[in-house]
């Protein structure tokens, strides 16, 4: 699905060749500061390589329109932004930004449940905890129903139990709907349990690729 050819970005990323398969769960691991977030941002064209090329479904990213790409390949950042207003506002804003049709409250509620966020739609976001904000942002991305999920440590501030339920749920949904997930995680357990492929990044280079069976 994604193919890297001699890609460099500043002195942060330097990847000679890498292929990320589609409709799989791919985990990216590695030390802090290794370039994982930067790698994800290259995939949705939030940044562009200084040299080399990245292909998405065999088309060079350079030739794809960044906005339409970002509506299919959606990134959930490490510290997602929460907008002022209610839970519902925050769910709908994604649909508004990507010019998709609004969804019914029922549909919004289902997305909250998938993200295990136990809040009402008209609750204010002011008092949400860090982990709740992260789950709200996840629900927002789920609602957008992208082809590719780029998840940057989606469960970093969750307890192990919630993390397990959410990831399990996510993986099941993606398998069912033939979606792709590329997920950065610090948890070896998550990586080995759920992924089809683990890519290890260190100092901007791919140091290990491990296919799981």
């Amino acid at each position: 699905m994604f193919r890297f050819q001699n890609v460099t970005y500043k002195d942060i990323i330097n990847i000679k060749s890498l292929t990320i398969p589609s409709k799989k769960i791919v985990c990216i691991t590695g030390e802090s500061g290794g370039g994982k977030t930067t790698l994800l941002k290259l995939l949705n064209k939030m940044i562009s390589p200084d040299s080399g090329e990245i292909f998405y479904l065999d088309e060079p990213l350079e030739e794809l329109d960044a906005i339409s790409l970002r509506r299919k390949v959606i990134m959930l950042p490490q510290n997602p932004a929460i907008y002022n207003g209610t839970v519902k506002d925050n769910l709908l804003i994604g649909l508004k930004f990507s010019e998709k049709a609004m969804e019914s409250d029922d549909k919004l509620f289902i997305s909250l449940q998938s993200a295990r966020l136990n809040k009402k739609l008209d609750d204010s976001v002011d008092n949400l905890s860090g982990g709740e904000k992260q789950r709200l942002a996840l629900a927002r991305v789920l609602l957008l129903n992208p082809d590719v999920f780029l998840l940057d440590e989606p469960s970093a501030s969750l307890d192990e139990e919630t993390e397990k339920i959410i990831i399990e749920n996510l993986v099941a949904q993606c398998k069912q709907n033939a979606k792709s997930i590329i997920m950065v995680t610090h948890s070896n357990k998550i990586a080995t349990t759920y992924s089809d492929l683990i890519i290890r990044i260190d100092k901007g280079k791919v140091v290990n690729e491990e296919a799981m069976i």
Binding site: N44, K45, M75, L76, P80, I93, R140, L144
Partner: protein, 267 residues
């Protein structure tokens, strides 16, 4: 002009400097180290106004479209440079060009409309009207745009994270920065709008006061004041809108990416 205007004699003007002496005495006693600034600014004011007086006298006696336009040009250049100095943030060269372009386009458009349609000035370049009116439009637009620039640049820098998140959710740069642009517009025109609210009650605007003091009937003065206030509002709004519409784009590149100036915060 009316004949019963009290002409100020030199000694009367000198008497007004008593206020400066009082101020100097106060800061001296309280030990506030501002004597130098107060002296310099009052001397500057005096010299600048005297100089302007003679220049205006010369211009009024030698009416010419060329000279009038020259004065307009000088005022624009002065105002634009003043904006660059006043804005308390670093601005790119591209943004500087946009500031200059919006100032000139916005003020000149409103000025022409005002001169030709609103007051029907004949000849259109008559310096007695043209110069003070353009001065007021340019001065107020300068203040407005300075506020708009500071707010826009500050907000984009402080809210990079939010803008970036919006882009990641598929927003176009325009939508991702809409709130910031709207806020900048707001803060740029609010002072002008607020000054309209207090006008005539809280304070008498400078132009009107000047006209009344020099013998014009208050009703005429007020008519001019109303017209000029509307003109100022139009000019401020137009220059600021032009600036913002072109300005926010300089923070994004053709690939709809935020352009960082080496300070992207580590997540």
């Amino acid at each position: 002009m009316n004949t019963n205007v009290i002409e100020l004699h030199i000694w009367q003007l000198v008497a007004a400097y008593v206020f400066i002496l009082i101020l100097l005495a106060i800061v001296k006693i309280r030990g506030i180290k501002r004597e130098k600034e107060i002296l310099i600014s009052s001397v500057r004011m005096t010299l600048q106004l005297i100089l302007t007086g003679y220049i205006l006298m010369y211009l009024f006696e030698n009416e010419s479209w060329l000279l009038t336009l020259l004065v307009l040009l000088v005022m624009e250049i002065f105002a634009i440079n003043n904006i660059y100095r006043r804005v308390n943030v670093r601005i790119s060269n591209q943004l500087k060009k946009i500031i200059a372009l919006s100032m000139v386009t916005g003020t000149v458009t409103c000025l022409l409309y005002f001169i030709i349609i609103v007051i029907g000035l004949r000849p259109w370049f008559s310096p007695r009207y043209f110069i003070p009116i353009s001065g007021m439009l340019i001065g107020n637009s300068m203040t407005g745009i300075s506020l708009g620039v500071s707010r826009l640049v500050n907000d984009i820098n402080n809210q990079k994270h939010l803008v970036e998140s919006s882009l990641m959710l598929g927003a176009t740069p325009k939508i991702a920065s809409k709130e910031i642009v709207d806020n900048a517009f707001d803060s740029a025109i609010l002072p002008t709008i607020n000054s309209m609210v207090g006008m005539g009650i809280v304070f008498l605007p400078g132009m009107m006061t000047g006209q009344i003091l020099s013998g014009v009937s208050p009703v005429t003065a007020i008519e001019y004041q109303i017209a000029i206030m509307l003109g100022i509002l139009g000019s401020v709004a137009l220059t600021v809108i032009l600036f913002l519409q072109l300005g926010y784009k300089t923070f994004f590149n053709k690939k709809s990416q935020l352009v960082f100036e080496s300070t992207e915060s580590k997540q």
